[in-house]
Symmetry: C2
DNA sequence: CAAAATTAATCAAGCGATTGATTAATGCCG
DNA sequence: CGGCATTAATCAATCGCTTGATTAATTTTG
């Protein structure tokens, strides 16, 4: 059959990513995942070694692509700070909303207040994104383009926190916005442009207004 | 023994709240909770009926106090919009940071993308806080105090999202801020005043600046 | 003593993981 | 090419363990 023969491993990871986002890591069982993926349970261990192996494999798959996206932004050092920041917002929000299941899963696990090997690993990954953003902000402050007494660290919380609120708690944000934020078409037509525009307006208001931030 | 005889039920709920925040609902076992609370496992079911009963009892205990806090703010209709907003930020952040374990636990469960009876219940609770905030914003826009083309819905995401980012992912925010955000003393001395001040500056910049938000 | 509180022991169900057997795919050699 | 050997993929069955919950017996309390 000449039809699309998507890789079976990839298919399992797609399903697992969704189920982990739906139920959480502990709430999702290997039987659930294998059942919904239409494969025998033993295949998960055959391919990925263990349940945690499946979880980590989902990471491996997403991270590399994400890293290259980020690096593409921070390397455009020819641009002025605001253009770089603007580009970061656009590309970052695009990527995150496209991979919303992954980011729900990721942030859910890191919100355990007890440190584990896994939360440490996730923390490291997230901090890479944070540093790209922070570097742009600090560069802008240094060159005088951005307000010098802006709170850089808490602005990070606002940038990623706003995004998380929309993406990670879909029931809440859907109720607030009035449409299903998990729906792909809605994301493209409404959510993405609105969120991008809002985020840039907010950042500009805080970083580039005339008032003293005190 | 005349020593402090704090209610045993309350003690169990205190411990359970912390363990749920540390491990998540599914990750926390009844043996863990009873063990750390120093009571027999069967006592959980004796007092609260089931594991879910413990979870819900934690809610009951926190919600009523929280509601009165919120109502106290929205009823101060003599104040101008900015004063009300400012008061909301202060009181809300105080309350949330004091009960950080509860809010970690709460947001963690609602970030499951699959709807359940429990996530619906939590969504309803969270939406009450959201409406208090939204009413203040809309009132301010109506009276002309706030920028008329501000995105009210996404500003909600920023207000609660920024807070969540700091409170719910303590490993991340501690790494960014350079101190332990779970430490009570640090919260009082550094986190609370800084976050309150930042949040109000950010809101003012977005809602009350001169530039057109387009 | 009677009621409430507390305990250890036990239960069925579900968990992740492994097993050994079976089938499908691939490689190798004459 | 054709037949055998080797590897990869898949399966049902089951392992040992942990889970949340319940029991029946015991202790504490008023």
């Amino acid at each position: 059959m000449e039809k699309e023969k998507i890789d079976k491993k990839d298919h399992i990871l797609d399903v697992a990513e969704r189920v982990f986002a739906e139920q959480g890591y502990d709430g999702a069982s290997t039987r659930m995942i294998s059942g919904e993926a239409g494969v025998n349970m033993a295949m998960l261990n055959y391919y990925f070694g263990s349940k945690e192996g499946v979880f980590l494999a989902i990471f491996e798959r997403r991270i590399s692509a994400f890293q290259s996206t980020l690096l593409g932004i921070s390397n455009d050092s020819g641009l002025d700070p605001w253009a770089r920041l603007s580009q970061f917002v656009d590309k970052y929000l695009d990527k995150v909303i496209n991979n919303n299941c992954f980011h729900i899963m990721l942030n859910r696990e890191v919100s355990k207040s007890k440190k584990t090997e896994l939360t440490d690993k996730i923390t490291t990954i997230i901090m890479r994104n944070v540093h790209v953003f922070k570097d742009i902000i600090e560069d802008g402050i240094k060159t005088g383009a951005f307000n010098k007494d802006a709170d850089r660290e808490l602005l990070i919380a606002t940038m990623f926190g706003t995004k998380n609120y929309i993406v990670n708690t879909p029931h809440i944000s859907s109720a607030i916005l009035g449409y299903d934020v998990m729906d792909t078409k809605m994301q493209e037509d409404k959510l993405k442009p609105r969120l991008k525009n809002y985020m840039k307006t907010l950042l500009k208001a805080y970083l580039m207004n005339e008032n003293d931030n005190k």
